[in-house]
Symmetry: C2
Subunit: 342 residues, 2 copies
Amino acid sequence: MLVLRKPYLIFLGDAASVADAKTALGVADWCPDDVLGELAFPEAAVSTGKPAMDIAAAVAAGAGSLLIGIAPIGGRLPDHWLPTLMAAVRAGLDIVSGLHTRLADIPELAEAARAAGVQLHDVRHGHWPRVTGTGRKRRGQRVLTVGTDCALGKKYTALALTRALQARGVPASFRATGQTGIMIAGSGVAIDAVVSDFIAGVAEQLSPDNEAGHWDVIEGQGSLFHPAYAGVSLGLLHGSQPDALVLCHHAGRERLDGWPDFPTPSLAEAIDAYLRAGRLTNPAVRCVGISINSSTLDDAQWQAYRARVEAELGLPVVDPLRGGVDRLAEAIHHHKESSHDA
Amino acid sequence: MLVLRKPYLIFLGDAASVADAKTALGVADWCPDDVLGELAFPEAAVSTGKPAMDIAAAVAAGAGSLLIGIAPIGGRLPDHWLPTLMAAVRAGLDIVSGLHTRLADIPELAEAARAAGVQLHDVRHGHWPRVTGTGRKRRGQRVLTVGTDCALGKKYTALALTRALQARGVPASFRATGQTGIMIAGSGVAIDAVVSDFIAGVAEQLSPDNEAGHWDVIEGQGSLFHPAYAGVSLGLLHGSQPDALVLCHHAGRERLDGWPDFPTPSLAEAIDAYLRAGRLTNPAVRCVGISINSSTLDDAQWQAYRARVEAELGLPVVDPLRGGVDRLAEAIHHHKESSHDA
């Protein structure tokens, strides 16, 4: 498992749009106490709202890493960023990157990191452990967010649910499986970068034995209904051995994003498939609720949609951005108590 | 996709048992015309039946590769093998290895290979392509062997079925997904070594567009019912988009091999799960028969077992080692004709 050194100085480079700076904004939003400030070129058109800070000031304030919070076009590192990265390394900061370019493949940066004794964390690549799944039941409880498709709120839902559980006094940990999630949590595994023989084994290590009342809230990836990524989703599901599932869906999305020949499944069909598959490693798995990205609906449409789905499926339906996920936290809390009764 | 240079000189080292030499025996059995001879130390207690041959004689006879056909304890390369490998490389042979030790990590061997312009093929590791699955329907037809568990005859069944189809005049190609299969076929992908994001995409490339009457017979891996490997099995299933499935099972195996907490599914349950999952990328997928490893049964028991399962499931049931797989080939041939009618 990758463990990052916080707090961060976020590097924004010459980010031209909010879309470019999605990672930076996500990190600043979800772990603001772990972000000391931001470093941007004068051309940058985006800010996280954190104070502008240079490398020396960040180091003086105790920064652990420079976090590359923007995605350049094509995913490659622009040459004119290199002096900043070199300066950060020489000042003793680790660098955290989700770029396609491996920092470790830039010889002068790799050499400088060796000399300074700091780490270059290529979160997208990484050297993930090679461990085989055991299927052994672990202590503590787990909830996994699963989806009808990719890119519809599984990370956001898991982060929001972790907070909502903590707010109720339930001990809960967010477990990150993708690069932005790892940057937010400060640790985790990019599960889709793991060699396929070890998906379930690595997922097992991500949510190890824990105390009886504790919940790991695991960020889901992909979808069982996705022709490219279902293998990742299934390995993560089996290794996570969740007690509870939250199904995530984007209201109105009738075709998989980018795979228009593939329809999204109905919510009932998706729940059935995830429960069938999940029972292999946890026969007691249940679906405790549904998290909807309702951005395509106006308020009246959303109320009607929610009422209809709740009536059909008998499960709480939330949109994290429209009223939060507290009803999911409540369902999980209740789930825990019923499990203890059983 | 990995492509190997045949014919082979098989290296047996000091193989002490048939189990040690499983790879060598499988290769000599399934592609005897591609094996010129064997090279063994005097202590070796096993032979493939091929003529003893030294490196110079193999090169003179046109050998392309030295194939390491034995699995040393722990999977590591014993030091005393190295002089033989060095001599093979210097004589112009590629080396094909399925060991855990990477040949490419042995500096003097890597350097000698560079100097000689030959390849070191670490079949277990390899640099597999990084391609995302498309789900696009391909031309030609495909059959995939799937299983109730690992290690129960999926490779053997696929190889036997390829031969049986070819014997009927049906154009058919074996598509290898594991190391011994790759050595036999001379090409393929070690699917469980592929980064999990790309399992389905790589599986798509393994059985590309082909002519309408052609069958790819794809070697299955793992099992949807396996807590460690189901992700691999699902990605391979989706990427293969098989028209036909053959379910493989080991009669009498009630628990997964090495995972005793996990029961093997019933044949009906397994067929149902594979068809449900397979329909995502090929709605017309059908199970055409069942291949049994019946080594635990005597002849009378096997006849009774076969009759009972055929009556229950309405599908042909074969053991490749007890009467061959011709009834599966017939079912596939028939399947093709009914598909053409449709």
